[in-house]
């Protein structure tokens, strides 16, 4: 049973205006995500939600100034980005990166080989990928295209969820996976996430600005993020309250 523990996490980013200065974005985040649980993190723009996601994944732009991140007791902060992924962390990105020249099929197989510790058997692998792609309404031709290159916003998000289902992480962080999706795409993507949740003991950290994805994916816990920390936590009903009243109570803003 995997557990991700985030303890009093402080994270800074380099100031865009002044190279020598840093700006603190996360100011003491405490959160524990256990396998089988789905946590939604909601908050206004600029509250630090995405920073939390990237800090867990290990993006070099963000510096952890104090606090801890542990996966099953192991110190995640001492791991490289790829070690974190191999340890069972997965980040579905809000803006997946285009990698020209690297075919999606080659990328998926390389990633699966790295995460599973051995190359998947070719025959079962091809079948597995085909099935996963068809479940997400992804055209088979995508396998031969360069990673994310020329993909529409919705195609990129499906491609992220495809990786989720193939790489089978213990803890999945979904950073605004719902943004930019139309109603149909949102349903397909949500179904994909739900079916992965149903298959195994995964802990999900769902970062979102809007409540609409929570109608498809029911969270066990909802946390409100403002000013770089969690300011309120509750059950699914907290999302309904946010839907009605916005974030004004927590952040003094209405967006």
């Amino acid at each position: 049973m995997a557990t991700l523990e985030i303890k009093d996490l402080h994270v800074a980013v380099q100031d865009m205006q002044d190279a020598d200065a840093t700006k603190e974005i996360l100011r003491g985040v405490d959160l524990t995500v256990r396998a089988g649980e789905t946590h939604a993190i909601m908050g206004p723009n600029g509250s630090g939600k995405s920073t939390l996601a990237y800090a867990i994944a290990g993006h070099p732009k963000y510096t952890v100034t104090s606090g801890a991140i542990l996966l099953d007791g192991e110190n995640v902060l001492e791991m490289t980005v790829d070690e974190r992924a191999r340890a069972g962390l997965f980040l579905a990105m809000q803006y997946p990166v285009e990698v020209p020249g690297v075919s999606t099929s080659n990328f998926l197989r390389s990633a699966a080989t790295a995460v599973r510790g051995e190359a998947p058997k070719l025959r079962t692998w091809v079948k597995e990928v085909k099935q996963a792609m068809s479940d997400l309404d992804i055209d088979a031709a995508f396998a031969e295209r360069s990673v994310n290159e020329g993909f529409s916003g919705g195609e990129k998000k499906r491609h992220e969820v495809l990786q989720l289902s193939l790489l089978k992480p213990k803890i999945a962080i979904l950073d605004e996976t719902d943004s930019g999706l139309d109603v149909d795409a949102l349903r397909v993507v949500s179904d994909g996430i739900n079916s992965y949740r149903a298959d195994g003991d995964v802990g999900v950290l769902l970062i979102t600005h809007y409540t609409r994805i929570l109608r498809h994916i029911t969270p066990d816990h909802v946390h409100v993020f403002a000013g770089g920390r969690i300011v309120a936590s509750g059950g699914a009903e907290l999302a309904d309250e946010l839907e009605e009243h916005g974030y004004v109570r927590f952040a003094g803003v209405t967006t």
Binding site: A85, M93, F107, A111, A114
Partner: protein
């Protein structure tokens, strides 16, 4: 004493159609390094090839190996007066003319029928030595042949390679420049494509201190088809320069140029000049040229100058594209976030980048060897 102020001589690119050519080295001025055709080249590293100060104190060794059945392959060593010399073209820079003025014997390889792949190994004159070399490849009408021209070794070399395609013939020329770290090679290729002939070239540059290769393709008659592909992998301090000219003066010919360079390490430098000239008579021409450069590390430099001159509106199509990009931190992060290690990520990106070019190498053993060499280059910086 009167001083006359002479404005600094600016060197306009000029039309490629009016470029000067001569077999005679003395017909060219000694380049100073500011001329358009020399401005990217570190002249001091030419060891005097350009200004006549080089002493030809060595000899490049040329070894021709044909397949088990040598039928259709004729190898000759001929003197300067052989009537065929010059069929490919005329030098257009001083180093090529220098090599042309000084060579004593040329190796002529004639290809007829459908011979097995021929390998021409050209070894440099050895560290500290300088030499010139002259190669002449020609096909008989309707021949179909593959030639591997494999450069290696040490020293300084100025060479001319003539390639003359007879009507209806098809030649694939795979050129490897895999020199030792000290080597300097300034090479000119003079390619003449006959009526309805097909020329396929792949140039792979992996090693050497300074490698500057200038292929010029002309069409002797209508219906010719030339594809020039290339890749270079420049490490710290290496200067690899490719200067291509495709000169369309005949109607209904086709040309396609695609060159890709990867650079890693401090002061790795690649230069790609892609000139395509479509003269008034060259109606129905179809032409495209593309250059892509991938900077794997900081402090490396890729220059790319595509140049398309069109003197007739009656063409099938012409275009060019050039782009230089970095393997950036975001791509690395994305691949790593999927469990892929940094060195593996670099390999994936470079393999993907070069794949299109390597796939054109139709000799599997050579392709394997070059893929291994590229992996080794990557491993050098690796992790």
């Amino acid at each position: 004493m009167t001083e006359t102020l002479v404005p600094a001589r600016s060197v306009p690119a000029g039309s490629r159609g009016e470029r000067f050519t001569s077999y005679d080295v003395d017909a060219f001025e000694v380049p100073g390094g500011r001329e358009e055709e020399w401005r990217f080249t570190p002249m001091r590293r030419l060891h005097g090839l350009h200004d006549g100060s080089a002493t030809l104190d060595g000899a490049a060794e040329i070894t021709v190996t044909s397949g088990p059945d040598a039928a259709g392959v004729t190898v000759e060593t001929v003197g300067r007066d052989d009537a065929r010399i010059g069929d490919g073209g005329v030098p257009s820079d001083r180093v090529a003319a220098q090599a042309w003025s000084r060579f004593e014997t040329a190796t002529v390889v004639t290809l007829d029928g459908t011979p097995a792949p021929v390998t021409i190994a050209l070894a440099g004159p050895g560290a500290g030595n300088t030499s010139v070399a002259h190669l002449h490849l020609r096909t008989k009408p309707h021949a179909e042949a593959v030639v591997v021209l494999d450069h290696s070794g040490s020293g300084t070399l100025a060479s001319n390679t003539e390639v003359v395609l007879a009507p209806g013939s098809r030649l694939t020329l795979l050129v490897v420049e895999d020199w030792a770290d000290d080597a300097v090679h300034v090479g000119a290729q003079h390619v003449s494509v006959g009526q309805d002939a097909t020329f396929r070239a792949v140039a792979v540059t992996l090693g050497g201190d300074l490698v500057r290769v200038s292929p010029t393709v002309t069409f002797a008659a209508p219906g010719g088809d030339a594809e020039l592909a290339g890749l270079a992998f420049a490490d710290a301090g290496q200067h690899f320069e490719q200067r291509l000219l495709v000169d369309h003066a005949q109607p209904n010919c086709r040309s396609n140029v695609v060159y890709k360079n990867a650079l890693q390490g401090r002061d790795a430098h690649t230069v790609w000049i892609g000139d395509v000239l479509i003269r008034a008579a060259a109606e129905g021409t179809q032409s495209f040229e593309l250059n892509r450069n991938l900077l794997l590390t900081e402090r490396s430099r890729a220059d790319s100058v595509p140049n398309l001159e069109i003197e007739t509106g009656e063409i099938a199509g012409a275009g060019h594209a050039s782009a230089t990009g970095r393997f950036d931190d975001e791509q690395l992060f994305y691949l790593q976030s999927r469990g892929i290690s940094e060195s593996q990520a670099r390999r994936l990106v470079v393999r993907g980048f070069f794949g299109e070019i390597l796939n054109k190498i139709t000799v599997p053993e050579l392709r394997d060897r070059l893929e291994t060499a590229i992996e080794a280059e990557l491993a050098a910086i690796g992790s």
